[in-house]
Symmetry: none
């Protein structure tokens, strides 16, 4: 028992250090990806920016690809957290409000790190995935599908898989394009208007 306080912190410290290094690498990668693009994101540059040696980079990531994947995963997880939070109580809302909240969540998700999102969604060599956007993930589909089921009585009869595809793809495209391409040039009211329109698009489609 006496040794635990001694051992634990040490191990913890080491774990903390490792974790810090890993985080620094992921963050450095993200920043370089944003600033210089995929082609200029060399492992040496990343390591340097992270304040560690290349060797350390390869201690934590077996390849450059793995590092990029970690960046994607982290970003994706952050997005999904925003979406999850926003959709937590969506089942209880009247449908139109629910959809509106959903669209707003999609916009917020894209605003987590738009510059990074742009690079990740456009510049990264595909790694033989089945579906579409890897940043979206199956979870989004599942989430929306659940929402559809919860509000089933308010909708017309339609293949739920197909409807999910239509809605998720449309919302993603609209919010993605709007945030990534027009964030700088459009006022906030424009986004309000977009939310209105996107909500109308989805609600009318489902009803």
């Amino acid at each position: 028992m006496a040794r635990k306080p001694l051992t634990k912190p040490r191990k913890h410290a080491s774990q903390q250090r490792s974790r810090a290094t890993v985080d620094a690498l992921i963050e450095a990668t993200a920043r370089i990806l944003v600033k210089d693009g995929f082609d200029k994101a060399s492992t040496n540059r990343i390591a340097e920016k992270a304040g560690v040696s290349v060797g350390s980079l390869y201690q934590y990531f077996p390849s450059k690809e793995a590092l990029i994947a970690a960046v994607m995963e982290r970003h994706s997880e952050e997005l999904m957290q925003v979406v999850r939070d926003a959709l937590a109580d969506v089942a209880a809302l009247p449908m139109e409000q629910a959809v509106r909240q959903l669209v707003a969540a999609a916009i917020n998700a894209h605003r987590v790190d738009p510059a990074l999102h742009r690079v990740l969604s456009g510049q990264i060599p595909r790694t033989g995935r089945t579906g579409n956007n890897e940043l979206l993930g199956a979870e989004t589909y599942a989430l929306f599908r659940a929402f559809l089921d919860a509000h089933g009585d308010e909708f017309r009869a339609v293949d739920p898989g197909l409807a999910t595809f239509v809605c998720v793809t449309s919302i993603e495209a609209l919010t993605h394009t709007a945030v990534l391409n027009y964030s700088d040039s459009l006022p906030e009211e424009a986004f309000e208007a977009l939310i209105d329109e996107a909500t109308r698009l989805i609600v009318r489609y489902l009803r």
Copy 2:
């Protein structure tokens, strides 16, 4: 003066030859992009596949980037031709049919060269453009906007710019994702169903 008749044909021949070389290079680039991906598409390989020397490649294109851009442009132009053809008589059609034809045209456009489209839309370093999809181009917006104006009386009042953005973006995303990700796994009927749904999505939204 006497030499002109002599020079002209020669120049003409040379121009033809130039055009053939340029075409061969663009085509070779497209094929290598599809077969081996962006990273493996080296200028040397492209030149070899095109049956010319690297030197010649640089005679016609100042950089690799310019060559890629030419591929994009050619592909984009092919897409647009499909869209233009399909939309030629859309103004005369009843709205729902018009939208349906429009969606079908979008699918066909994506089917021009899906493999190339995938590479071009996902893997190409952005070259600092303002708008969104470079493959789509401003023309699509203009085309749809014209369609909207032509059918103005059938629609509710709505900011036409915003409506165009919503419709074009949605249709593009739906057809793009469907063709690129599910062409191999889905039967043709599924695409019919998709056309139905996409049409419904747009028509209800606009009405």
Copy 3:
């Protein structure tokens, strides 16, 4: 004084532990050398396989080279033990039988760990040695020289140093090549025939 009985065993234990670590390192090195070749035998991998840290490796061996040298030495010592055992009573035998036993011993020596022998004899960077095969060592020469002296009356007059060189080198080459290259493909009888021939080679030469 009271602590000595306590310290000694501890020290002993520690020495035992050291010896075990050293052995584990040498063994791990040998196994990796065999399995993956010289180039892939990194100190980190060796330490891992030995179940110790790299740091410990460097506690016992000042460099990778020293570790390799230790592997060579251990292997060489094992070889020599086989040879020594086999040659213990060779002086008492009639010459032809003696030579035969000698050749057989050479084959057995090469069979101690042929895979390791191959790597050690072929792939290891020379470390500025004087003689030839470091795995053979001066002892072999001495052993054979003694054998020659013991049977002096049965041989023709010849520079014993030269004769030793001729015999040892020939036997080594024949048995080495046979075991390392043909062990897998030749039946045991072939080795019997080889022993016959090698014996004849040496006996006729010396007589």
Copy 4:
């Protein structure tokens, strides 16, 4: 006809240039291998020493391994040329003289570039060959076998394959070891003595 003198030299010049580059690379590799050992023979260093860029190295050799293989091949070919020349008229000689010439040829072969031979025969990662020494090659076996057949009536009955193995392996080992390890320390007379002994070894064995 008029253009031929123009064209040929150009092409020839280019071929000469290529050949010169290839030769320079092989030669530089050999020299570095000798001077610094296998581990220090990096492609960049080789290219530098050859007076060309690394890129050029890879234009002519697909990998470092291929370059090393070319060095081996060139050296091996030089060796074999010495052996071939020396053995051209061996069939006509009385057996003992023939064997003596053969041994002398082996020594001369090893003297072509002893330092290089040492590195090549000891340090090169085996490339999964069946037989033994890659520098020797099957040709040596064939050559000796032919010699054996030519002098068949002078020899005792023996499996010619086995006899060839015994003789070639022994001669190779003796001359190899002598030249590589004792060239610096032994006078020329010692080599004469060695030739005597090796000849005796083989002749007595075969008779």
